[in-house]
Subunit: 257 residues, 2 copies
């Protein structure tokens, strides 16, 4: 059976109308489905309001205790419950989850190498039994970007990685399709040209695009997650806009090995 | 089968050691169980930090949009996920829920009479099918004091009432026992004397205590919830400290009709 795992980016969460459209399209996807979200920009705004400094290293947030509390409030509370309530209104039986809920996603603190990222977790286990139980009861998990270590500690965890690891964990049981949804129509050849979508990327093209400096910054780890998922038997992986959800004819980037 | 529904008060949530003890005792309760929590004091503190004025009328919070956002962050995010992670560490398969999650608790906006309480919901339905599904799979729901209207709106909802309405809704299927857990050992005859616990209160004693002005303020609606639950077939209702959980010999107040 097909299983759709949809990760939505921060820009889609922030704007009321964009979020509404994402959830409308998501709710119409047939069959079992899982939504994954972060909320980084809203967490940064909340940190500013509370006078908590946001520390970034190489584009990654350093998560001290205060920052973890803000992330738990914003991702696990405000964003997650807002999405769940809106999905329920669209007849989608949504259930919000952090990695601690149902022990759904376990992780370990990221080892300190050049930097100590603080309360950031690297995923060690996805609880396939619990996800199967939910999906088999037509429940739609809505996962925020938080995991836990099983000893009571919550961890900030990359939402893209949560999405790919869930897809990988469930790839034996389902025909898992992974959708990375953001504000662009796909991976762009030129960042200035919204219509320059690269419709197909395979390993070979990927290497060429890196050499040409067309893929850089945040798109690098995202594509890394895509290929990793495909190597681990995830059936299909796409990057594109909200319009691609439930519409196979919409322009998007399809990733293949 | 026995089902324990435990509501924990704000003073127990705020203090690290008190919370640890509550969760330790709660996790040891045998059989199916449900935890219900608010977090009013932490929400008030967060509102102060964010410069949002807390408006109270007759001891009840008026919930405007900003306050609802704070409640969703604090109750649904920080408090709920902290509790869930700690329970998982104690081998209790906890699942955090707002009323929107699994459409577990539906409500309508409280009608405007003398005051408009804003985004405050009066419960209209508890989703017994979903609670049964969870309990039958040895999952422990951890419910925060938030409900929803089914049309996408979250509502601030009294945690005592959530606990009693869940107990009532499940009273047909289970032998429901309701525990109101707070910082005192029970209902006190004299607020200055911690040892003046009234061990048994029935309808008759209740009326006498009200006449004597011994029961007043916050204890009135709590006891109202207790009697309402008993009238609706909840098996047993207790008010007491964390020490009463899992220990029938501990002093506490037992409510009977």
């Amino acid at each position: 059976m097909k299983l759709s795992i949809v990760k939505i980016g921060g820009n889609l969460i922030e704007k009321e109308t964009a979020l509404e459209q994402v959830l409308e399209n998501f709710s119409k996807i047939e069959g079992p489905k899982i939504l994954v979200h972060g909320g980084g920009k809203m967490a940064t705004q909340m940190a500013e309001k509370l006078g908590v400094e946001t520390k970034m290293v190489d584009g990654r947030r350093i998560t001290d205790q205060e920052t973890l509390n803000i992330i738990t409030m914003v991702y696990g509370g405000l964003v997650n419950k807002t999405i769940v309530a809106k999905l329920q209104a669209k007849n989608c039986n949504a259930l919000g989850l952090s990695g601690a809920d149902l022990n759904s996603i376990k992780s370990v603190k990221r080892p300190v190498k050049t930097h100590d990222f603080g309360f950031v977790g690297d995923i060690t286990n996805v609880n396939t039994n619990m996800f199967s139980l939910l999906l088999n009861n037509t429940i739609t998990p809505v996962c925020c970007a938080i995991s836990h270590d099983g000893d009571g500690q919550l961890f900030n965890t990359n939402a893209d990685t949560i999405a790919s690891e869930i897809a990988i964990a469930l790839a034996n049981e389902f025909e898992a399709e992974l959708y990375y949804c953001f504000e662009k129509k796909g991976v762009l050849r030129s960042i200035e040209d919204e219509d320059s979508v690269i419709t197909d990327i395979n390993t070979e093209i990927y290497q060429a695009l890196i050499k040409e400096n067309i893929i850089a910054d945040g798109m690098l780890p995202k594509l890394h997650n895509c290929f990793h998922a495909l190597e681990k038997n995830v059936h299909k992986v796409y990057i594109g806009s909200v319009d691609m959800l439930g519409n196979e004819k919409e322009i998007r980037t399809t990733i293949t090995l």
